[in-house]
C-alpha cells in the first residue's frame, strides 16, 4: 500500500484532520484550510510589546506545548496571541530522567532538562509554526554569546517574529540561571544576539540578586523587552523513599506559589527601567494576570495553568481581562500597564 505523503509530523499534517483504513480503503478527513483559530478579540486588549503587535496579551510560556507544530497548533486554537517555542540549544538534548514533573500542593516542580532536537530541528519547527498565523517567539538557550547568536540567526531565517533568550533555566548547568546572575554576561549575550538579528530580542530573566541591574544591561545591549520571571529553583523529597523525587533532584517551581514573587520582580524592574515586560509566573486567571500588568507587564505568559486547567485557560484569561477593563472603565490595556506605580 502506498504511504500517503505529506501527512507526517513536521510536514503539513495539521491540515489533515484524520485518516484511517477501513475495508481496504483509505479515508481522509481534511480540516478547513483557512482555519481562523480563536475568537477575534475586541480592540481593547490589542497591545504592542517589544516590537510585536499582539491581538491580546496572553501567550504560552516557553516549555509548555512548544516542542512541535502540532503542540503549538493547540495553543493557536486555544487563542494564544503569540506562540513561544520550547528552548532550543545548539546540540540536541535528551533531557533528564523521569520524573521530570512533580505536582506539589501549590505549584508544579519540573526539570525537563531542555530536551530539544537542537539547532538542526529549529527551522522546520518554526516554519511549520508560522503557518498557524501567530507571531512565533523562538526560545533559545546557550552557554555563551556566540551560541545564542547562532541560534537566533537560525530562528530569524526560519521566520521567527522574535527570539527569547533563556537566561534563567534553574536546572541547566552553565546555560541558565548562572548566566542571568551576572549582569555583564547578560549584556554580552544580548549584545551578541541583537547585533546579529533584526527581529526583537527578549531576555528572559529569573529570580536573581541583581535582577534590576541585569535587566538594565539587557536593555542597554539592545533587548527590546524582558520576560520575567522563570521558575524558582526548588526540590521535593519523598519522606519515606528519602530521596528527591525529580530525576534531576533539583528543578523549577512554577504555579500560584511563585506569583507574588513574579509581581514583585516585574514591579521593581518596571519602576527602574520603564521598559517592555512580558510577565510570567503563576498566572492562572485574569486577576493574577492583571496584577502583573499593573506591576508593569505589557503581556503575559501562562505555563502551569495550561497544564492544570487545560488550554482553555488562555481564553478564560483573555475574556476575564476584557471584563476587567470594562469594570474599571479603561479603553485600552495600555492604560493599565504599570498603573500600580502611580501614587
Amino acid at each position: 500500500m502506498p504511504r500517503p505523503a505529506g501527512f507526517r509530523a513536521n510536514s503539513g499534517c495539521p491540515r489533515v484532520e484524520s485518516f484511517y483504513y477501513q475495508a481496504g480503503c483509505l479515508f481522509i478527513t481534511l480540516k478547513p484550510t483557512a482555519q481562523k483559530p480563536g475568537a477575534l478579540r475586541v480592540a481593547v486588549l490589542r497591545i504592542h510589546v517589544a516590537g510585536l503587535e499582539l491581538e491580546h496579551p496572553v501567550m504560552n510560556a516557553s516549555g509548555i506545548l512548544g516542542s512541535s507544530p502540532e503542540a503549538l497548533g493547540r495553543l493557536a486554537r486555544a487563542g494564544a496571541s503569540a506562540l513561544v517555542t520550547k528552548s532550543f540549544t545548539k546540540e540536541p538534548r535528551e533531557g533528564y530522567p523521569t520524573p521530570i514533573a512533580v505536582p506539589l500542593p501549590y505549584g508544579l516542580l519540573n526539570a525537563v532538562g531542555l530536551s530539544n532536537p537542537g539547532l538542526e530541528g529549529l527551522p522546520s519547527l518554526v516554519k511549520a509554526a508560522r503557518r498557524l498565523g501567530r507571531p512565533v517567539i523562538v526560545s533559545i538557550a546557550g552557554s555563551e554569546p556566540g551560541e545564542f547568536a547562532e541560534l537566533a540567526a537560525a530562528a530569524e531565517e526560519a521566520g521567527a517574529a522574535a527570539v527569547e533568550l533563556n537566561l534563567s533555566c534553574p536546572h541547566a548547568r552553565g546555560r541558565g540561571l548562572e548566566l542571568g546572575m551576572d549582569p555583564q554576561t547578560v549584556g554580552e549575550i544580548v549584545a551578541a544576539v541583537a547585533s546579529t538579528v533584526k527581529i526583537p530580542v527578549l531576555a528572559k530573566l529569573g529570580l536573581v540578586d541583581r535582577l534590576v541591574e541585569a535587566a538594565g544591561k539587557a536593555l542597554e545591549a539592545g533587548a527590546r523587552g524582558l520576560v520575567l520571571i522563570n521558575t524558582l529553583r526548588a526540590m521535593a523529597i519523598d519522606v519515606y523513599a528519602m530521596r528527591p523525587v525529580l530525576g534531576n533532584r533539583v528543578g523549577g517551581l512554577s504555579g500560584p506559589a511563585i506569583h507574588p514573587v513574579a509581581v514583585r520582580a516585574v514591579y521593581e524592574v518596571y519602576r527602574e527601567h520603564n521598559c517592555d515586560i512580558i510577565g510570567v509566573g503563576g498566572v492562572e486567571d485574569w486577576r493574577s494576570a492583571a496584577e502583573l500588568i499593573l506591576a508593569g507587564a505589557r503581556a503575559i505568559q501562562v505555563g502551569t495553568a495550561i497544564v492544570t486547567r487545560g488550554e482553555q485557560v488562555i481564553d478564560e484569561i483573555v475574556k476575564g481581562l476584557e471584563n476587567y477593563l470594562n469594570e474599571v472603565g479603561v479603553k485600552s490595556l495600555e492604560e493599565l500597564v504599570g498603573a500600580a506605580h502611580k501614587q
Binding site: Y20, S68, E70, A71, P99, D238, P256
Partner: protein, 262 residues
C-alpha cells in the same frame, strides 16, 4: 494530598507481591501518609521507583487506599521492579482521560500489560450493566496474570494462549475474530502494537472502525501534556491528555508507523 492543580503525588509502600509470572509481576501498594487520587477507567499514573526513574503505568486496580500495578519486562527499570520490587515508591497521577462509554455490549481485546488498562474499564462497564467480553491473550500460561480477582462476576473472560497452555489456542485477535465483532457496540484493544494492528485490520476489513478504540502507548515523560513527548503521530492529540484511548478513526498515522498494512 490532592492538589488544586489536578495532579497529585503520593508516597507508596509495597503491601504485597500478588503474582510473579514470566517476565512480569503484579504488585499491590498502599499510600503512605497520603490519599491516593481517584483513577477512573483507563487513566494512568507515573510510577516512580526511587533511584531509578518513573514509568507510565495504568493501575490494574485503584482505590483510595490501594493501587495495584502489573509490570512487564521492558527495560532496565521494569527489570529492576520485577527482580526486586521497590518497597517504597511514589505515584503521580491521575493522567489522561477516562474512557467510560455507555454501551449495551463491549468487546475488550487485551494482550500483555494492555490488560491493566482494560480491567478497570471492564469492571466499571459491567457494573453499569454493559455486557462485557474481555479477551486476554498471551504467548503462554505463565504470562497470564491472575486478573479474575479484579473483574467481578459479570465480565465474560476469554483467555487465549499462543501455545494453548491455557484457554483457547491462538491469539487474542483470533479470538476477537471468532467472537463476532458485529455483535458489539464498542470494541477496545490494548496491548502490543502488533495486536492492536491486528484488531484494527480486522475491524477495518469488516467496516466497523467507527466502533473501534485503542488504548495506545507512546513515550511519556512529563505525563501532563506540556513536554509534548506523548503527541500521537500527525495529530495534535496528546496521549497524556486526550488519551490513552483513541477512536479508530484518528489512528491513521499511528497505524502507518506501527503496522505493516501491506
Amino acid at each position: 494530598m490532592r492538589t488544586p492543580i489536578g495532579y497529585s503525588y503520593c508516597s507508596l509502600r509495597l503491601s504485597r507481591v500478588l503474582w510473579r509470572g514470566r517476565g512480569a509481576i503484579l504488585l499491590s501498594y498502599e499510600p503512605h501518609g497520603c490519599v491516593l487520587p481517584e483513577f477512573r477507567p483507563t487513566q494512568f499514573a507515573m510510577f516512580w521507583v526511587p533511584g531509578l526513574e518513573a514509568i507510565p503505568l495504568a493501575p490494574i486496580y485503584a482505590s483510595r487506599d490501594r493501587i495495584d500495578f502489573l509490570v512487564r519486562l521492558r527495560g532496565s527499570t521494569t527489570k529492576s521492579i520485577i527482580e526486586d520490587p521497590p518497597r517504597r515508591a511514589g505515584v503521580i497521577g491521575p493522567m489522561g482521560r477516562s474512557f467510560t462509554p455507555s454501551a449495551r455490549s463491549m468487546l475488550l481485546v487485551a494482550g500483555g500489560t494492555g490488560v491493566a488498562s482494560l480491567i478497570p474499564l471492564a469492571a466499571w462497564a459491567a457494573r453499569e450493566g454493559t455486557r462485557v467480553v474481555l479477551v486476554y491473550g498471551a504467548r503462554t500460561e505463565s504470562e497470564l496474570a491472575p486478573i479474575e480477582q479484579y473483574l467481578g462476576d459479570d465480565v465474560e473472560l476469554v483467555v487465549a494462549t499462543d501455545d494453548g497452555s491455557k484457554g483457547l489456542r491462538g491469539t487474542a485477535v483470533d479470538v476477537a475474530r471468532a467472537a463476532g465483532l458485529e455483535d458489539f457496540d464498542i470494541i477496545v484493544a490494548a496491548g502490543p502494537p502488533a495486536m492492536i494492528c491486528g484488531v484494527y485490520k480486522l475491524v477495518g476489513s469488516q467496516g466497523l472502525l467507527n466502533k473501534f478504540y485503542a488504548s495506545l502507548e507512546t513515550i511519556v515523560r512529563c505525563g501532563m501534556g506540556f513536554c509534548g513527548s506523548c503527541m500521537l503521530p500527525c495529530t495534535s492529540s496528546l496521549l497524556c491528555r486526550e488519551g490513552p484511548v483513541f477512536p479508530g478513526t484518528v489512528l491513521g498515522c499511528w497505524v502507518e508507523e506501527e503496522c505493516s498494512l501491506a
